[in-house]
Amino acid sequence: MILRTHGLTREFGGLVAVDDVDFSLGDGELCSLIGPNGAGKTTFFNLLTGTLAPTRGTVELNVDDEWVDLTGRPPHETATMGLHRSYQITNVFPTSTVRENVRIAAQAHGTDSHKLWRSVQSFDRYYEEADAILDRVGLSGVAAETAQSLSHGEKRQLEIAIALAGDPDVLLLDEPNAGVSSASIDIVVDLIEDVAQDHSVLLVEHNMDIVMNVSDRIVVLNQGGVIADGPPEEIRDNERVQEAYLGGYERGEAA
């Protein structure tokens, strides 16, 4: 296991967005987190990375076979400990070049960021890491362009590239396909499968074809709680999951 939560809960006013979730992610596993609208998936991500503080419960990360408590740590600390995320809505550095977008992320994991007296060009290793990642995600050709000038699909690739910098142990991918046109969706799917080779991945995705194809395991959230957890075939036939997705409305007699 690489990541686990215990009794993780977040309340907004009276609303329980994430409700007592015990979750674990295996080392090297690709686990998908699914659930209907408003099930609490993005809130769950925000709790893992420290963007939100939980109302109750803990988040722990396995660092060199030691469980480290991440609960309540700010995002910059969870990131440096090896928990990275991509965003549902593209969230990059718009007027920087593609290469700089990844380089600055790589730099965050070194010990040189405070050096204001040396030229950035004397730190080759961050450029090398950035170039390797861009090569891997297939953006080498546009490395010198500004991020804002990319096509939407390329921006989604860049989104993942930034998360890859600094070689994280766990990748949290929040709808990497959001807004990608049906024509170019395969590129992103291939990319997800590729990065899952050497990272533990937690994926939020709505396209069930993709989820069923790529996942080792699927966890289903509904109204903040886990309602199912298992391999794809099992989830497909789970009656509670069907209910959660299609809705269980029955016309009452009362008016």
């Binding site: 609303l15 939407h152 959001a178 069907q242 299609l246 809705g247 409305y249 009452g252």
Partner: protein, 232 residues
Amino acid sequence: MTLLEVDDVHTYYGQSHILEGVSLTVEAGETVALIGRNGVGKTTTLRTILQLTAPRRGSVRIRGEDVTGLGTHDVARRGLGWIPEDRRMFSELSVEENLRIAVKDTDRVGGKLAHAFEVFPDLEQFRDKKAGALSGGQQQMVAIARGLVGDNDLLLVDEPSEGLAPLIVETVAESLRRVSSDTSLLLVEQNFPLAMDLADRFYLLDNGQVVEQGSTDDVSREDEQIRRHLSA
């Protein structure tokens, strides 16, 4: 005459292509459901109709008149009401003010309010309360009542059941049914049985396109297409 015609609209947020050519129609008196999984473009379709997010291609016509590119308030003045996701109450305003502001015919505010409290008698007791202080279900009632008092011919209803307990969902469904006797509805709803129960026809959206449409009488949740596009 057809009340609403959406003709091959393509809508983008920045560079991200959300609607890839959506077409649909709503006839007077009809309730039409727009169903589909999260993120397929249902809310964007409603926003496009209201010109809150104008389409790059394609057109929106109301009673045959092209409204593409008009200001949202101009579109609304042509008889369109919006009951948005999350209800969007003016939380600092009282319930009465929330309704008052929605009345388009300013000479008949009193009558319209009286009618609203007649249709939603439960709201009368909260008349002077701030809308922000109401529960989710009560707010949903105010949102629907807001659509009612505007003398609208067509209400665009977005996820009315979201975040509500099952019992409350039933009350909301009942009020929508009541409202639908006066106006047409274009209803975005994830709860499949609820949508089928309220609507006469449906459009199924996936990846910014209409993948299936038809009468609600002919489909069930065991339908292969429906399961493929809606469930896990």
